[in-house]
Every structure is written in C-alpha cells, then in structure tokens.
C-alpha cells in the first residue's frame, strides 16, 4: 500500500508528461483522479491503523544499496500517517485550484511532488529519506521558477540554495551516523529502526552534537526558523497558488517531522542539551514572525510570514520534549497545513480576480464576493488560532508543553505575545481586505473552486472540534519515541 501511495503519483506524472496533450485537458483530470484515488487509499490506511498497538504498518523492504547497507525501507506509523493523508488531499486541492492552467507539465510536477512527499514521510531508511528530501526540490524549483509571479527566478534560486545547504549537511550527518553506529550495530546500516536501537550508543559519541546539528540545520531551514527563514517569504509569495499550498501545507512539515523523527529520536541527549537554544529560536520565530506579519503590504507575503509564527510553535513544542508539547507540534503542523493551505488557496483565487496582491488595493471583498470572502474570513480566523478551529488546539498544546518543559518555560511567557500580535495582524487584515464597501466587482467562487475549498473548511472545523480524529494517531506515533528518549536520557 505504501508503495502504491508513493509510486502511483510518480508513474502518473510520467504519463501526464508524455501524453500529447497541449491544453492539459486530460492531464489535469488524470492528476485529480490520481490524487483522489490515493486520498481514498491513504484515508483507508489512516483509519485502519491500529492506534492501540502502534508500530509501523504496510512496511516494505528491499535490499537496495547493499554495499553501504541501505535498503528501500518504507512504512507508516501514527506520526507519518496524518501527513501521508494530508499530501494527496492538498494535491487534489491544488489541482482544482489550478484548473485554469493549460500546461501539462504543471500537473505532472504536482504529482511528482505528491509521490516524493509521501515517500519522504514513509521513509524508514536514512538514504531513502534523503532521496525523497532532494526529490522534492527539483519539481518545486521549476514550479516556482516557471509558473510563479514576477520575481519567480530569484525566489526559486533562493529556495533551491537554502534547501540544498540544509540537505547536504544532513547527508554528511547521515553518513557519519551510520558509520559511527557501525560498532554498536555490528553492521553498516542506514535503517532507521536499527539505528533507533543504537540511539543510546549514539548519545555517548563525542561527535553527537555535530551529528545533531547536521540534521537540525536541514530541518530548521525547512521549518523555517528565524534566522534561516528568509527564503520563505520570497518562495511562498512568488510561487503559483498550487505551489504555495504545497510549500506551506507540506514542505514546511518536512522540517518538523524530521526534527521529531531524527533529532528527537536519535539524539535525545543533544536535543535536551540544546533545548534552551531551540526554545529561544522558537520564541523569536513566534514573536518576530507575528511582528513581521503585521507590517506586510502584500497579502500573500502576509500569510507567508504568518507561517514563520505558526511553525515557531512547532519548534517550541518539540524543544519542550514533553508529550503535550509534541502532541501540540504535530497537531499544529496538520492544522497549519489545512488552514494555511486554505488561506493561500483563497488569496490565490482572489489575486487572480483582482490582478494584485496589494492589501491597499483591495477593499470590501466580503460584500463583493460572499463565498470567497466568507471562506477567507474563516481561514484568517483559523490562522490567528481561534478556539473551535484546528489551529487553536495545536498552538495551545505547544505552549502548554513548553510551559511543562523546564528549559522552555521561561520563553513561553514571551511567546504568548506572539499570539496577540498575530491576532492583531489577522484581524486588521480582515478589516482592510474583507470589510468596507466593495469598490470593484469581484467574481465569486466557481463551483470547482468551492469543491477545492470545501474539504479544507470542513477539516479546519472538524479538527477544531473533534481532536479525537487525530490525537490517538499522534499518540501512537510519539509515545514509543518518548519511551525510548527517557531510556536513553537515564
């Protein structure tokens, strides 16, 4: 099943790319069909997952690079399943959001991204993880560079270089980890589960801090955390709507997911050692991200910057190393994927209609286009963490976890200011963009655009009201890691 979820989109991407299909009429239908099919399949796997017993399901393992002990090992657990289900959902949304595009290459790249992202979340071998980590870069680069807005080249190159800087250090750290763990394992292996069993040995290595930071740099850039976040406003703003949805909804999650999967599970001692530093980074991201959001004049850029604030909570939750904080981090990632995906979708559709992203040039969108305005209203409220919507639970648990963590507690007090500032930014945006008297005609949502937004609206509300749809899975995913962490730290 895992293989199907990874490779069906990739094969479909090749098919879409090779079809003689000048208007992409068939291409977008194939892309939508594949995304919906894999969505159904992944939702099936999600609900079939034994949350009581936990562990990895649908594992597949094939000897791949025998000489260096890497195998193609994939599997799904409670930590990866939410993202594996979110990926095809956001792909389907992105395809619908780009229904007016006529380039088959665009849809092929989306399918490639989908396959690579699912592969990344399912990878249980370090080299395979790296492979998919890099495989995400190339399609995203082209998506921004070819179909983006006016400064697309600059944004694409910046995205590429920042990501590469992180990934090459991660590769070096992966190689070093595997070779240094060799004496403990008795064999050279990049298998995640095997390395996990050697995490006690890894913790005692003198080079552990280097290994930790090799991984952490890659994930902090991806997350992104201040001060390595500067690629994000450009990439998110300049990317086409579908690209922004992918970036915010999924690519940022690679960072948080990686931090939990590798930094927390393999190097808990180092994470504990540096948790104060990470908490400072998180707090700065939260407050600074919110403050910068307040100052934006470009609506898309505003939402992009709010992501820096949102992902700060993720980092805070992880740095706390508490069960509540980690729950919050994962919940926040999923909620952010849904809500920010929705924000970018609406803003993209709005920008298509008004031909500008300037906040000053928009006024009274809600009276002019009630459906579009209503959904954007809901998304912005979700972005400020309104109770009853998904974002609140994530932020609240992250902060609570941060409060429970010894090293993170001093910074939680200050991080709370981030909430206030971001709420101000979001409410002010609502006032400026949505309220007031409509000055220009804005066409309301087409039916297919409503279909694109509907599942995200539904999920934003559902996850805000019924956390039981997500928490048992998160629990099954992080409890084993926390147990292991406690053993190692003893």
């Amino acid at each position: 099943m895992t293989l199907l979820l990874i490779f069906l989109p990739i094969v479909a991407a090749a098919l879409v790319g090779l079809l003689p299909d000048p208007k992409a009429e068939a291409g977008k239908r194939i892309a939508l069909g594949v995304a919906l099919f894999t969505l159904l399949a992944s939702v099936g796997v999600y609900f079939a997952y034994p949350v009581g017993s936990g562990g990895f399901v649908s594992q597949f393992r094939l000897d791949w690079l025998r000489l260096i002990g890497s195998s193609f090992h994939v599997g799904l657990d409670g930590l990866s399943l939410p993202f594996v289900a979110l990926t095809p959902l956001l792909t389907a949304v992105s395809v619908l959001a780009s229904w007016r595009k006529t380039d088959k290459g665009f849809f092929a790249l989306m399918l490639l991204l989908q396959g690579a992202l699912v592969g990344l979340f399912a990878a249980l071998d370090l080299i395979v993880f790296f492979l998919f980590f890099e495989a995400v870069l190339v399609p995203m680069y082209f998506m921004i560079a070819i179909w983006g807005y006016e400064e697309r080249r600059y944004a694409a190159v910046k995205f590429l270089i920042y990501s590469l800087v992180g990934s090459v250090f991660m590769l070096a750290a992966m190689l070093a980890t595997a070779y240094l763990a060799q004496p403990a394992l008795g064999e050279l292996s990049f298998d995640y589960l095997k390395l996990l069993s050697a995490s006690g040995y890894l913790a005692a290595l003198p080079a552990a801090a280097w290994l930790f930071w090799g991984f952490a740099i890659a994930f902090l850039i991806k997350l992104p955390a201040v001060p390595v976040h500067t690629w994000l406003p450009h990439a998110h703003t300049q990317a086409p709507t579908a690209g922004s949805i992918f970036l915010a909804g999924l690519l940022l999650k690679m960072g948080g997911y990686g931090l939990i999967r590798f930094n927390l599970a393999l190097f808990p001692g180092e994470l504990k050692h540096f948790s104060g530093l990470l908490a400072i980074v998180a707090f700065v991201s939260i407050v600074y991200g919110a403050y910068v959001t307040l100052a934006q004049r470009d609506l898309k850029r505003l939402i992009a910057n709010s992501s820096v604030n949102h992902m700060g909570y993720v980092l805070l939750g992880i740095a706390s190393m508490t069960a509540v904080g980690l729950h919050g981090a994962v919940y926040q990632m999923v909620a952010h994927g849904v809500i920010t995906g929705l924000m970018f979708l609406m803003v993209g559709l709005l920008a298509e209609r008004t031909h500008t992203r300037e906040i000053a040039a928009m006024k009274g969108v809600y009276p002019a286009a009630p459906k579009l305005g209503g959904v954007l209203w809901l998304a912005l409220l979700g972005g400020l963490g309104l109770p009853g919507l998904a974002g609140f639970l994530g932020e609240f648990q992250s902060l609570w976890g941060g409060f429970l963590g010894v090293m993170t507690r001093p910074y939680v007090w200050w991080a709370v200011f981030g909430i206030v500032i971001l709420a101000g930014a979001m409410l002010w945006t609502i006032q400026r963009v949505l309220l007031g008297k409509a000055e220009t005609e804005v066409a309301d949502l087409e039916p297919y655009e409503v279909y694109a937004a509907a599942p995200l609206v539904f999920l934003a509300v559902l996850l805000g009201l019924v956390p039981a749809l997500l928490t048992p899975w998160i629990d099954a995913g992080i409890q084993p890691i926390l147990t292991l962490v406690q053993e190692v730290l003893k």
Binding site: G17, D63, W64, L65, R66, L67, I68, I127, F130, L131, F132, E134, A135, V138, Y141, F142, A145, I146, R153, V157, L160, I161, L164, V165, V168, F169, L171, A172, L175, A176, A178, Y179, L188
Partner: protein, 468 residues
Amino acid sequence: MTLAVIILLALGGLALALAAPNFDERPTVLGGISGTIFGVTLLLGFAAMHESGVLYGAVQQGPLTGLAIVLLSLVGLLAAAGAAIRENGFAAGSGEVHALMMWGILGGVLLVGSAHLLMFFLGLELSAYSTYVLVGYDRDRRFGTEAAAKYLMLGAVGSALLLFGMALLYAETGSIAYAGIAAGLSAHPSALAVGGLALMLVGIGFKLAWVPFHAWAPDAYQGALPLMAGYLSVAPKTAVALGLAVMLTQAFGDAAGMVRGWITALAAVSVVLGSFWAMGQGDIKRLLAYSTIVHMGFLGMGLASGTLTGYVAVAYYLAAYIVTSLGMFFSLEALEAHGIASNLEAWKGLGRRNPMVGVLIAVFVLSLAGAPLLAGFLAKLYVFAALAQAGSWAALIVAVIMVIFGYFFYFRILTALFLEEPGEKPAVEVSATAISLMFILAAAVFVLGVWPSPLMQWLKTAVASLMI
C-alpha cells in the same frame, strides 16, 4: 582474451585507418565496423575478467583489466555510434576518427593492465596521441587548432614530468616493474623517491585534469567537436583513474598512504576551484570542462580513501560518468550539427523549441549535478560513504558543500533551457539517430540510479582484486 582484445583493437584501428579514404562518401560503414569491433571486445572483456597471469611480464590479466576492457569498449561503442549523429560525417574524414578512437581505447586498456612503468607510459601516450589529434579535428576553425596546440603542449609537459618521476623512482628502487618498485619503497621514502612519486602524480594529474594541472581542459573542450570532447572527458579519464588505482595498490607499496594524502589534497582543490570557475562560464563546453574537473576531484577523493567502498565508488563513478557525460556531449553534438552553438545564449528556450531534447538534456544535467534517482547521485553518495568510512570528515564536508555550488552552475543550463523565452527562434529538429542515442543513454542514467545492485555487485567482484 586480453591478448585477443589488444590485437583486435590494434589491427582494427589499422584497418580502419587504411580503409578510411575509400569511405569518405559513406561514413557510417566504418562506424559500423568500429562499433562491431568494440562490441566484440566488450564481450571478450567479460571473459577476460576470469583470467589471471601476466602477459610477457608487461600486461596483467585479471578482473580489473577485464573491467577496463568492458568500460572502455563501452565508451568506444558509444562514441562510434555517436559519430553517426553528424549525418554527413566530419569534414576532415570520418574513418580516421574511428581509427584514432580505437587506438586510444587500446592505450587505455594497456595502461590499466600494465605491470610495468614502461607499459604504463606507452599506454598513456597512445591514448594521449589519439586525443591530441581528435581535439584538433575541427581544424578549419581557429579554436580547434588553438585547442589542439594548447592540449599538445601541456600534455607533453605532463608526460615529460611523468617520465622524469619514473626515472627518479627507478633510481631509488632499481626497478620499473610494479612489484619491484613496491618492494623498494618504505612508508617514509627518501627525498628521491618522494620527488619521483610527486612528479608522477603531477603527470597523472595533467591527464585527469586535477587543479592546478587543469589549464588545458577548458580550451581543449571548447575547441573540440562535442563528440571528441565527450570522448576526451571519459576515455582517458576512465583509463587513468583505474590505472592509478592499480598503481596505488600494487606499485607504491608502503608509500601509497602518502600518495593518497596528496591525491586528497589535489582532489579537494579541484572540487572547490573547479566549482567556483564553472559558475562564471557562458560556453557550455567550457562549463562542462570545469564540470569534468570537479567530477575528477570527487573521483580522486574516492581513490584516495583506499578502501573497497572507495574503489567500488570510483568504478561506479566512472560507469555513471560515461553514460552521463557522453549523453550530454551527444546532445551538444546533435545541436551543433544543426547549427545551434553550445552556449547559454543560443540555448535559450531550447526546452520549448524541442521539449523532448530539453527533457533529455535535463536528465543528463541533473545527473551531473547529482540529483536523486539518477546515476550521478549514487556516484557521489558512494564516494561520500567511502569518505565517511575512512573518517575523512574534512574532505566529506568540503565535498558536500561543493555539491551546492554544483547545483548552482548546472541549474544555469536548466534555466536557459526552460525559463528563458525562445524569442523568435524556430523549433529545433535533431536527427533520429541523435534522439535515440540520447534516449538510450538517459534511460541508462535512470536505471543505474534506481537499480544499481547488479552493476554494483559486478564492480565489487572486479575491484576486489585490488584489495589483495
């Protein structure tokens, strides 16, 4: 079988050279003959891997010689096919191209198989002389002549230094056979031996285009026809790299550790400076020359690790580089044959003017950059793994950082291909031969990158003979 290959290549080259003037109107006939001969030697190479012993005290038979025959015959086969991309043949005659390439391959086989410094030198010169002529083959253009002249001069200096080093080594050890030299060298060799080894490495560095002995490469690549540049980028490199691996393990004895240290330094400098220089290039052949320098640097890092993983990495790197680099240069050849110059300016919007060609070139460029699922990625990964295994953390960090710069300059090609507007330029047509060759090589790049296990296993058995 090794003997049969040597004879076949020598006589085949002779026959092609003699027959060449009669076939100027039908260039493909000689290409077919040349391809057949290389096909036969390729198969004989597999058989040669199971042989042992030394021919006339000069050429070793064994797995590594067999590996060299297979890889080099593959280069010859592909190059012979690539000569058909230009449908009307070369202005200066086509038969001679095949003859020279065949002798060049013969030289490569001899230098890998040599058990003896003289044989090594002979093989190296045979391989070098053929490339001197091939580089200058486009003799009507100023750049062609200039390229050949520069390459010949610097190549001759390299050979002279190599020979001088050999002489010093002979003075120290009293032998020019690998085994005799190895016996005469200690872990702390005398100044004479250090000088000899250093000069030899300088000579070899010229052939591998390691910085600072690389100065000829950009000019030679730029002036040569793309097919010749492609041949130059893989055939002598494959042979010299494997030959150096043999020397490191069999000829340098206890001094090999010291030489490996020098190689690491040269390789690191090549990777760093090559990457920096490549970033400013607008001529694609010059850019690819610096790319070769960088690749030879990565390869050198693998060689210097001196472990089984390192040698397997080198062998895989060579195989991956053969298909990737030849694919890239075949694309250039196809485009130049249709009047599209090899510079970023002329390539603007090429991906829109002919999407198929654009995507195939993108595969080769991404493989050169080391993008995952392509051969170039695994090649680098194995070298990095070898560095990690050897604990060469500094070299590993330098190598991974330079990968970023690599992406930067390779993506300039992709930017020109796909992001620039084609303007008023018409659609691009290339011949069916070119497209099919490019497609085969791109498929090979992909298959090697996704399913390398069979090749890896085979390479491992071949290079394991080095470790004894």
